[in-house]
């Protein structure tokens, strides 16, 4: 056995090589962001405005609902509590308090959704599209010639992406608490962390799988990523509790089930239950219990990582056979 062959079969050497590859591929994302200060403004601060718009919508609705409750008329001297006039001042106060609590819970839902949007966009544009992008700029053949496992390359992209995106996610959370006065009640921090990381691993596993598929899809890939923004924000309940879709007869549950294949859907549902309490919204908008959702997320994470491994190997071979591995703009 030659020396080179012996090294390649040495487990310790292979693990070290792949860990170095993970570090090497995540490095430009982490350090690149630090070397380009404008990144913070464009990627972390500006997107907060879009989230703020959704927050203000709920505050607008809340304000309108509160005005209906507090406006006194001859027919409703204590204002309107739903369809009927409020019976007395206590009923009016209770209705106003309920509107305030519901508005806070919905605003908190938007803030949590906004943090997940950051990760989903990173998965789409910096994971799924990345191998295609590397092909376009001529790096892909260099990666393919290097001796490390391709999964280590994708793993490095994922780790770098998570760190880079965390700044935006954290700034969204901080803005939610400080600017919009959102109140989170975390009862089980360990479970919260478990759900969060299971969601991230499943999401980035999905991104790794897409990265392989995008190699073959070529130019359609960019448009597919664009297509997976608003429709996924909608079907996965990024800005409203996903259970809202289940309340719409007919197409609502179908969309919710389709959206649930994106790990962010159930991840967000579980995170909302853990930070707002399972009784928020009257407990009517949750899909499953937190533990069930955690189990599904762990299953998704394992499944997507395995699928990514196989997709990458298969599509790399296919791309080489069809001569598409280095062909640009197709």
């Amino acid at each position: 056995m030659s020396e080179a062959k012996a090294r390649r079969s040495d487990l310790r050497y292979r693990i070290g090589l792949n860990l170095r590859a993970v570090k090497g591929r995540s490095y430009p994302r982490i350090v690149g962001a630090n070397r380009e200060p404008s990144w913070i403004f464009f990627e972390a601060l500006l997107p907060l405005l879009g989230i703020a718009a959704y927050v203000f919508i709920y505050q607008f609705f809340g304000g309108q609902a509160l005005a209906a409750i507090t406006t006194k008329t001859a027919a409703a001297p204590w204002g309107m509590c739903g369809h009927d006039p409020c019976a007395n001042a206590a009923a009016q106060s209770a209705a106003a308090a309920a509107v305030g609590a519901n508005t806070n819970a919905l605003v908190a839902s938007v803030v949590l959704g906004g943090t997940m949007v950051a990760f989903w966009l990173n998965v789409l544009w910096s994971m799924a599209s990345q191998l295609y992008w590397e092909k376009e700029i001529g790096n892909l053949q260099l990666y393919m010639m290097a001796p490390m496992n391709r999964m280590a390359l994708l793993g490095g992209m994922a780790v770098g992406g998570m760190v880079m995106t965390s700044m935006r996610a954290v700034s969204t959370l901080v803005a939610g608490v400080l600017v919009f006065g959102v109140v989170f009640q975390v009862a089980s921090p360990l479970l919260l962390l478990a759900v969060f990381f299971a969601t991230l691993i499943a999401l980035y596993g999905l991104g790794m799988m897409f990265a392989s598929l995008y190699l073959l899809w070529g130019r359609e890939a960019w448009n597919l990523s664009a297509l997976m923004e608003e429709p996924i924000f909608f079907s996965s309940g990024f800005y409203f509790p996903l259970g809202g879709l289940l309340k719409i007869p007919g197409w609502g549950p179908a969309i919710a089930i389709a959206g649930s294949f994106i790990p962010a859907s159930l991840g967000l549902d579980a995170l909302r239950q853990l930070t707002l309490g399972s009784t928020a919204f009257g407990g009517n908008f949750w899909i499953f219990s937190v533990t069930t959702e955690l189990g599904i997320l762990v299953g998704m994470a394992v499944l997507f990582l395995i699928l990514a491994r196989y997709c990458l190997a298969y599509l790399e071979t296919l791309a080489k056979r069809e001569g598409k591995l280095t062909s640009r703009h197709q």
Partner: protein
């Protein structure tokens, strides 16, 4: 002038081909519709959820206000992105900017041409979204025949302002790294919040209202809403301005933003050339 027109036409054709020739025409039409309709449905679901838990009697006026604003916001997102992404896509993605830049054309006009195809797609998407809302979601639309000319003029002026803002951002992007997505999300987000698109300015704090009143798009959204959804009674805090005043304001601001866009574009171009950034690539 003929060179400008020829540049514009060719760039518009190029933009259309780049946008649409990756797939079959029917799939492209579907693609062009799904995104904005899904965006509208996010708001529909937000409304449904709020009504289910917070206001059983509903609020049809608030919903129509929000839906119409969101439909016309498609123009903002598409036109801005269609304009400022030209420099970055030519520079970073296709790496063709050096060849286009040294050709004997106006690069400014070329950018406008490339954006034109996006406007065409946006018109289609806005129309579909509004029709869908009117037919299936009970959005109250009514455009009187007498108001059509005013509506068309205000729409053209609003698009002119958007194009000029897009070029301003393009001028800045000569000097920045690959921030297309941050810009695509962030700048429209600025208008989403401050221009009374989804909620009236009165919801904002007083400094936010002042910012909103300083942006011409606020008035564009207001006049559009007054013309196509006149029965919506939400207090926009802009009722003191009559339509002709708003139109005059849009004319002045479109000229002002055009001049500003030329200035920012030229300054960005000058510094990019000086720093050797015209054809840089940032491959993080």
């Amino acid at each position: 002038m003929r060179t400008y027109w020829r540049t514009f036409k060719t760039a518009a054709w190029l933009g259309w081909e780049m946008d649409s020739n990756w797939t079959e025409p029917w799939l492209f039409v579907l693609y062009s519709v799904i995104k904005p309709v899904a965006g509208a449905f996010i708001l529909v679901l937000m409304y449904i959820v709020f009504v289910a838990i917070g206001r059983p009697s509903g609020d049809a006026d608030a919903f129509s206000y929000m839906y119409v604003g969101n439909s016309f916001f498609i123009f903002v997102a598409t036109v801005l992105f269609g304009t400022f992404q030209v420099i970055q896509s030519d520079r970073e993605w296709y790496q063709t900017i050096r060849y286009i830049y040294i050709s004997p054309i106006s690069y400014y006009v070329y950018i406008l041409g490339r954006a034109a195809s996006k406007i065409a797609v946006a018109v289609f998407a806005v129309a579909i979204t509004l029709l869908f809302g009117a037919m299936f979601l009970g959005v109250r639309l009514h455009l009187a025949l007498a108001d059509v000319p005013l509506f068309l003029v205000s729409t053209v002026l609003g698009l002119a302002v958007l194009l000029a803002i897009g070029i301003c951002l393009g001028g800045i992007s000569f000097l920045t790294a690959k921030h297309t997505h941050g810009l695509a999300e962030g700048i429209p987000g600025l208008f989403y919040v401050f221009c009374g698109v989804l909620f009236p300015l009165s919801v904002l704090p007083s400094w936010g209202q002042a910012v909103g009143r300083a942006i011409p798009l606020t008035y564009w959204f207001d006049i559009t809403r007054r013309l196509i959804a006149p029965t919506v009674t939400v207090n926009t805090t802009l009722s003191g301005f009559d339509p002709l005043t708003i139109l005059l304001f849009l004319i002045v601001s479109s000229i002002g933003f055009f001049l500003l866009s030329v200035l920012i574009y030229k300054v960005g171009e000058y510094f990019a050339r000086k720093a050797g950034k015209i054809d840089m690539t940032t491959s993080y």
